[in-house]
């Protein structure tokens, strides 16, 4: 094992897959000469050349569609959105074309494509640049949605996503790029399967299910709660569609309590989907209603004092866990 950053883990996954398969290429805004808006693709242009590391004009619908078309006839595009906020102008290509072509063609055509980029709020970038998009893209059958929280999962899941025969929505995080963590040694081909979650911390006090940036908020809350004698069982689903239902249910059957923590808005989305699974499949095991800690139901404000109110915090996680444990604040 080595310690590397999340962004380096992603870069390694792309390099290794591009070395392995000549049909894999990277396309997006500023991915080449500029070395990536968030430096994820640093050095890739120099290594693979302009044929495989392709800078585009600002034309998301165009290059997303070019990716889908190329994938339909055998290439394996990695399409980078500078941030997922800009995928909205390419929404039609993703949901009407990529997500539909296999089914609509009666299985004749495949679309092995990865759409990737940073998801969620950064810092004070306001309403149009702070979207957390998993609630949108998990809605559509025909897409996988992956959201790794750690460098190890980022690398392993990106490799799996590139190799998969289906369109994959790959959600990174601007605030995660600098996170350091253990990743398998160079030369070890560690692939993390799509659809498999991970127990991030074991405990019997309360299940907390979380991913993305709030994962780190929860891990911090777990430390604080442990000091009060409450041990969290933290489940990171890693893939948001399909969900690893068995892993989450096994945890809830053990702890009898559950809190779901996510950055996306509370209306629908994987947060609500997880609660649906748990109340349906583990109803008899629950000692308390399943609670959610979510982003507040407002467009993201610019002012930092307000942004701090919108995003899930350690305090809000602690409070929710104490409530399902019937403990006072």
């Amino acid at each position: 094992m080595r310690i590397i950053r999340y962004r380096e883990a992603l870069r390694e996954a792309m390099v290794e897959e591009m070395e392995r398969d000549a049909d894999v290429f990277l396309m997006g805004e500023e991915v080449g000469h500029y070395q990536g808006a968030y430096k994820v693709s640093e050095g890739l242009l120099e290594r693979f050349g302009e044929r495989r590391v392709i800078d585009t004009p600002i034309a998301e619908a165009g290059f997303a569609g070019v990716g889908v078309g190329a994938a339909m006839v055998g290439l394996r595009p990695i399409i980078e959105f500078m941030t997922w906020n800009f995928s909205f102008v390419a929404f039609d290509q993703i949901v009407s074309n990529a997500a539909k072509i296999h089914s609509m063609s009666g299985g004749a055509i495949r679309c092995p494509i990865v759409f990737r980029g940073p998801n969620g709020a950064a810092k004070q970038v306001a309403a149009q640049h702070s979207h957390t998009v998993e609630a949108l893209y998990t809605h559509f059958p025909g897409l996988y949605v992956v959201a790794p929280s750690t460098p190890r999962d980022a690398k392993g899941l990106l490799k799996a996503s590139i190799r998969d025969e289906n369109p994959v929505i790959f959600l990174e995080g601007e605030t995660l790029y600098g996170v350091k963590g253990e990743v398998a040694d160079e030369g070890v081909d560690e692939v993390v399967p799509i659809g498999k979650g991970r127990v991030a911390r074991e405990g019997d006090g309360c299940t907390v299910i979380t991913w993305g940036r709030p994962y780190y908020t929860v891990m911090e809350a777990a430390e604080r709660l442990a000091a009060d004698g409450i041990e969290l069982d933290v489940i990171d689903p890693r893939t948001l569609r399909p969900l690893d239902e068995e892993l989450m249910l096994a945890s809830v059957r053990k702890t009898n309590r559950c809190v779901v923590v996510h950055e996306h808005w509370p209306y629908g989305g994987p947060g609500a989907q997880i609660v649906d699974v748990i109340q349906r499949e583990a109803f008899d095991y629950l000692d308390a209603p399943v609670l959610r800690v979510a982003g507040l139901d407002v467009p993201m404000p610019y002012a930092s004092n307000l942004e701090d109110l919108v995003l899930p915090t350690v305090d809000r996680v602690v409070e929710a866990v104490r409530r399902v444990s019937y403990l006072g604040a």
């Binding site: 500023e30 600002i58 034309a59 002012a303 004092n305």
Partner: protein, 322 residues
């Protein structure tokens, strides 16, 4: 020079106000009083000020996230602009929008938009309203050359051209879309050619002389007001700073930047005024006044209360409906 020197002094003062405002904004950002993305307009001031001078008070304006310049040119109070950067309740968007999302309805300034290409159709929309009601207003919409490749540009042009809407589209071609030079995003070097495909009039010129900007934009504004349809104007310019505060601008050389700074719109206008006999004392006076105005704006921003939770909760939807 077609402007009398009093008017030119006024335009110079406006440009200087924008320049000094933004230098202070950059300082506030470095001191963490402002956050998020901050895109400076430094180097492009003649466009906002010249175009503004060519418009009527009741006209509408749209801009990208690089919006401080046009907001101030239209008459936004510098204090309200600075307070917005500081995330204060007294900001022009009450701390909800920040640098990228200035709004000032009173001065016809309808934003401050973050998604490339997204606001062009909105400008066609306010122009549509003007024609619908016959109110005689014109809309001016600014965007970068990078935006001329995205669907939003082409669809807005399709409709504005077809319906001959009273709108002037101004492309501020500052040579780079973030780190990408025009040569790598377009096979054209003359972007005005794009207008033809939409049956739209076009103009193109260098934008370092505020008088030229005013005159040429005025022609397009008149055309729109007279019901003769939209114009696409490509104005050649250059930004002296990075794309945003986080961009070190390594993609261009020091020499290139220095060369372009010779066309600094402030220097160009100052030289014109000096050639016409303006005295140094007059410039000193203007500088002192602008200094005081900007310092007052910073102080106002510092002293203002932070943005309110109530504003955030009450503005999701219009209150008191259904």
């Amino acid at each position: 020079m077609t402007l009398d020197s009093e008017e030119l002094f006024n335009l110079y003062r406006r440009m200087l106000l924008i320049r000094r405002f933004e230098e202070e904004a950059a300082r506030a950002y470095a001191q963490s009083h402002a956050g998020g993305f901050l895109h400076l307009y430094i180097g492009q001031e003649a466009i906002a000020v010249g175009a503004s001078a060519a418009m009527a008070e009741s006209d509408y304006v749209f801009q990208t996230y690089r919006d401080h310049g046009i907001a101030l040119a239209r008459g936004m109070a510098p204090g309200a602009a600075m307070a917005e950067l500081f995330g204060k309740d007294t900001g022009c968007s009450r701390g909800m929008g920040g640098s990228m999302h200035f709004f000032d309805v009173e001065h016809g300034f309808y934003g401050g938009w973050g998604i490339v290409g997204g606001h062009l159709a909105l400008a066609a929309g306010t122009a549509f309203k003007s024609r619908y009601r016959g109110d005689g207003a014109v809309t001016i919409c600014f965007f970068g050359e990078g935006a001329t490749n995205i669907g939003g540009f082409h669809e807005a042009f399709s409709l504005a051209g077809l319906w001959k809407l009273p709108v002037v589209f101004i492309c501020e071609n500052n040579r780079y879309a973030m780190g990408t030079p025009l040569s790598r995003t377009s096979p054209l070097t003359d972007l005005t050619l794009k207008a033809q495909g939409y049956g739209m009039a076009a103009d193109g010129f260098v934008g370092s002389d505020v008088s030229v900007v005013k005159e040429r934009v005025a022609t397009a504004v008149k055309r729109a007001r007279d019901g003769e349809g939209p114009t696409f104007i490509e104005i050649q310019t250059y930004r002296f700073r990075g794309h945003s505060m986080s961009d070190p601008a390594k993609y261009r050389s020091r020499e290139e930047l220095e060369e372009r700074k010779k066309d600094d719109p402030l220097a160009v206008t100052r030289a014109q005024l000096e050639a016409a006999g303006a005295e140094v004392a007059r410039f000193d006076e203007i500088e002192e006044a602008v200094e005081r105005e900007v310092a007052a704006a910073v102080e106002f921003a510092h002293d203002s209360p932070p943005a309110l939770e109530q504003t955030m909760l009450d503005t999701v939807l219009v209150k008191g409906q259904s």
